[in-house]
């Protein structure tokens, strides 16, 4: 196990290097100029842009810039934002809590919906409940988050006027008032992300339970005369959960992607909205850092999924 982990971590190093080379090259070759807005402003002489370019080393060859970035990164220096003129790691740390909160709560909510609904659908396949659950699941994963987000805003904020659609990090008050406000403002973004996830997990859970319940040991358990409840919870669901757990872990990075759009719509100051505004402003150090964080997440969660799978299912051996 220890050796396996070590090997996986060692393999991760060249993949991360490769990813960083590709990201850096794409960003360097992409059109656009971080100081473009300066150039179109008649009051700013062109020399200012030139000075800034020289100061941030933008005129050097790409290879040199990459090496400089890499060595800084190895020293723990994430770079310096051209647009905000501050350190990138401070920017990202400022944005991280909001993203983690929204994604975390949406995952929990999605699991709370997907597990019972999936299991119940599988226990009573082709019942009315199953059909309705299926219908919603298909609606759920065919609708993109930007659409459900706008739909929710239209319904709950504008038509009903119940929920605010601008997410604020500075809501006043304390105690119950704060929790209430926080609940109100996160309800929509969390629901949007959770619905998308819950939809696919429900389907997954259902098929997994159906598959397991046909296995011989389940029949044996029933033949022993165990109550149906016991069979379902102890024998079926436990084993059916194994592939679902891996799926949840594998989908985590994708969720960060879905959060980018949701964060933009609801003005949540997370790393997703930081990425969008940096792309619009051609703020390459920030784009580089955020995409690199996403790449690390993908690799990390892949590893996590593999490890979890083996831990849950002793039949899998690490080699």
């Amino acid at each position: 196990m220890g050796r396996y982990l070590l090997r996986r971590l060692l393999i991760a190093v060249p993949s991360l290097l490769g990813i960083s080379v590709v990201l850096f090259a794409v960003l360097a070759l992409a059109p656009g100029d971080p100081f473009g807005e300066l150039a179109s402003n008649p009051n700013v002489p062109p020399e200012v842009g030139a000075t800034l370019r020289a100061k941030f080393g933008l005129d050097d060859p790409i290879a040199l810039r990459y090496l400089r970035w890499l060595s800084a990164m190895l020293h723990g220096d994430w770079g310096f934002s051209f647009v905000s003129r501050m350190d990138v790691d401070t920017l990202i740390l400022q944005r991280l809590p909001a993203t983690l909160f929204i994604i975390g709560s949406s995952q929990v909510l999605a699991l709370l919906i997907a597990l019972p609904v999936g299991v119940y659908s599988a226990v009573r396949p082709y019942s009315i409940f199953d059909h309705i659950a299926n219908l919603f699941a298909f609606i759920g994963f065919s609708l993109p988050t930007f659409f459900t987000g706008l739909l929710f805003i239209l319904l709950f904020s504008i038509y009903l006027d119940w929920l605010p659609f601008v997410y604020r990090t500075d809501i006043g008050g304390s105690g119950w008032h704060w929790y209430w406000e926080q609940l109100k403002q996160s309800a929509m973004p969390v629901a949007v992300l959770a619905l998308l996830q819950a939809a696919s997990w429900t389907r997954y859970m259902r098929s997994s339970v159906l598959e397991v319940s046909r296995l011989d040991y389940v029949t044996t358990a029933r033949a022993k005369g165990l109550p149906e409840r016991m069979v379902l919870i102890k024998h079926i669901v436990r084993n059916a959960l194994i592939p679902v757990v891996t799926l949840v872990a594998l989908q985590m990075p994708a969720l960060f992607g879905g959060a980018i759009v949701t964060e933009q719509i609801f003005r949540i100051p997370g790393i997703g909205s930081l990425l969008i505004s940096s792309i619009l402003a051609n703020d390459t150090p920030v784009i580089m850092a955020v995409t690199f964080v996403f790449a690390c997440l993908v690799i990390l969660f892949n590893l996590l999924a593999d490890v979890l799978y083996g831990w849950l299912d002793p039949r899998i051996a690490y080699r």
Binding site: G36, S40, V83, R85, Q264, R267, P269, L280
Partner: protein, 599 residues
């Protein structure tokens, strides 16, 4: 009225309890002349120009929270690094300039005691210097006094190339000297009729010397105050999250009595313009939304809904959506560049083609169907303030006349319906940035051109590429590798049009030689225009100077260097209860201290 009463009255005006106008009326009623009455006020340290908003609150504070929504968030809080207006707005909450521009394009003192002019001796008769008297008793947020040293320091800071300040263009040609602790003199190398560049409006916000002095030059980016501003403004700094949020609280020692009204201020960023407009006009979550670039149709729908809580505030500005004609040949490469200033455009060298094009731009339809209240059809390139607007030009949309013009000039329709002359076909490429109203405008023009036998290919480029200075990219507006192009110029703009009209001087022609950094993308070269421009630069008589700018406008319009389309307006969304005055010549927050909410 005895002296005591008079003094009391003056201090009442000072505190804002009595309006200037009421004071002057009263004095005139007592037999004094109006100028003498104003002089009395000026003598008492009161500004020449009255604030253009009525301010009703009788004490500072008590207004609760002021909530502002920006769909593009401020990313930095040092006014000398501000890139777009969004950053300048964020800075303006905490920092102030010596003077600001009101909606009519007049100067209003902020940190200055009065506006310099020829009469009060502030502006030198030779136009080479201007003397600013600073307001007494102004304190920085940390309690230090504001003095002439701070003002001088801002010039040293910004004009040092190593600082890489975006304001360097305003400061580098001036010399600032301290006369006494509350007086500074700005010296110019040449007679400068427009002396209100340094220390005025968005480029002129003043940062404290005592916090920034160690960080002048190359280490400017390390200053802690870059992220924790301490200025003289109506609100004090509380919190800043770049790209997301700025928070401030009332400055209890603010230098204007009874101001500001709000206890806290919050500037939230992110999202998009339409939902920002909704959050103010429809749901009332916010009091104000910045730069609501939304089609007028949508704004009207939001405003006319039964329960609307706000409205769109539409402000005059100079922003000009215009079509540029390429005078160089974009299709032939000379010395490694297309659109080389050495070439002449094969079709546009015939003035008849340019005149015909001018007749084919249906500005009335563009205004009516696309821009609505936010863009007004105009025949002039230079619009606003009123004193610079030419009355000599007119515009019309007339396909028949355009056809006749082309016919007379020998451009005959071929079998495919496209006109040609000497084997050259009237085929044009028309480029612009990707932006829904622009693509619609392009379509309207293309349709009219088809009727006149001109074949037009439409091209649209992503804004981030089109407006960039990327030397390697062929699709930028400055390279102009097309026959026609359309975009907006003039935001932000000071009331004086000198910088604005520089667009057409020959030394600004964009070319490979200057890495396409010249601002004249049309490559139009006109000796007379250059001469008039140079004359205007040194003309001290404001009336004569305005006449020169009008003449320049007439030249580019009559010679069809550009085809003006619409004069765009600055639009913000404001809650019905919020009282705020916005200026097209300065930041929206130029008069933030006077914002209040009606209860």
């Amino acid at each position: 009225m005895n002296e005591q009463e008079l003094r009391e009255l003056i201090s009442a005006v000072k505190a804002g309890r009595v309006s200037r106008r009421a004071f002057v009326h009263k004095m005139v009623g007592l037999g004094l002349t109006a100028p003498f009455a104003t002089q009395l006020l000026a003598h008492a340290g009161l500004a020449q120009t009255a604030p253009s908003t009525e301010y009703k609150p009788t004490k500072a504070g008590g207004g609760g929270a002021l909530k502002l929504l920006f769909w593009q968030a401020a990313t930095l809080l040092n006014p000398h690094f501000a890139v777009g207006t969004k950053d300048a707005e964020g800075c303006r909450i905490f920092y102030e300039p010596l003077a600001a521009w009101d909606p009519d394009g007049n100067l209003v003192p902020v940190l200055a005691a009065e506006i310099p002019d020829i009469e009060n001796g502030g502006v030198a008769a030779d136009g080479r210097s201007v003397t600013w008297k600073l307001k007494k008793g102004v304190e920085w947020h940390d309690g230090q006094p504001f003095t002439a040293d701070d003002v001088v320091f801002n010039w040293e800071y910004a004009s040092d190339p190593a600082t890489a300040a975006t304001t360097i263009g305003i400061y580098r040609d001036a010399r600032i000297e301290k006369i006494d602790p509350l007086t500074v003199r700005v010296r110019f190398e040449k007679p400068t009729p427009f002396w209100a560049g340094p220390f005025v409006a968005f480029w002129g916000m003043i940062i404290p010397k005592h916090l920034f002095e160690p960080y002048k030059g190359a280490n400017s980016r390390d200053a802690p105050a870059n992220l924790k501003p301490a200025g003289t403004g109506p609100y004090r700094f509380v919190e800043f999250k770049p790209g997301d949020l700025i928070r401030g609280e009332r400055n209890p020692s603010y230098h204007v009595a009874n101001r500001p009204y709000f206890d806290t201020i919050e500037m939230k960023g992110g999202g998009d313009a339409v939902s920002a407009a909704r959050a103010v006009i429809q749901t009332g979550e916010y009091d104000y939304a910045w730069n609501v670039q939304v089609e007028d149709e949508i704004l009207l729908r939001l405003e006319n809904a039964g329960n609307a809580r706000g409205r769109a505030e539409i402000v005059q500005s100079r922003a000009m959506e215009h079509i540029q004609i390429n005078f160089a040949d974009p299709w032939t490469e000379v010395d490694g560049e297309r659109s080389s200033p050495k070439t002449r455009h094969p079709l546009f060298s015939d003035p008849a083609v340019r005149q015909a094009l001018r007749l084919l731009v249906d500005r009335a339809s563009v205004e009516a169907h696309i821009y609505g209240r936010t863009g007004v059809a105009t025949g002039n390139f230079l619009n606003n303030p009123e004193r610079f607007v030419s009355k000599n030009t007119k515009w019309e949309f007339n396909v028949d006349k355009a056809n006749r013009l082309l016919e007379e000039a020998g451009w005959m329709r071929g079998p495919d319906g496209i006109r040609a002359k000497d084997g050259k076909k009237l085929k044009l490429v028309f480029q612009t940035a990707i932006n829904a109203p622009r693509q619609k405008t392009q379509a309207i023009i293309k349709q009219a051109c088809q009727k006149a036998g001109i074949d037009m290919e439409l091209k649209s480029v992503t804004a981030s590429v089109y407006f960039s200075s990327d030397v390697a990219n062929p699709d930028t507006a400055r390279k102009f590798y097309a026959d026609l192009q359309m975009y907006t110029v003039g935001t932000p703009s000071v009331p004086d049009p000198e910088g604005f009209m520089q667009t057409f001087v020959s030394w600004e022609i964009a070319s490979k030689e200057n890495k396409w950094q010249g601002r004249n993308s049309t490559r139009w070269h006109n000796e007379e225009y250059d001469k008039i421009y140079r004359a205007a630069q040194g003309e001290l008589d404001p009336v004569k100077r305005a006449a020169l700018f009008i003449k320049m406008n007439d030249m580019v319009v009559e010679d069809v260097t550009v085809i003006p389309v619409v004069n765009r307006r600055w639009v913000a969304a404001i809650s019905h209860k919020l009282k705020a005055s916005l200026s097209g010549w300065d930041n929206d927050f130029w008069n933030l201290k006077d914002w209040y909410r009606e209860t």
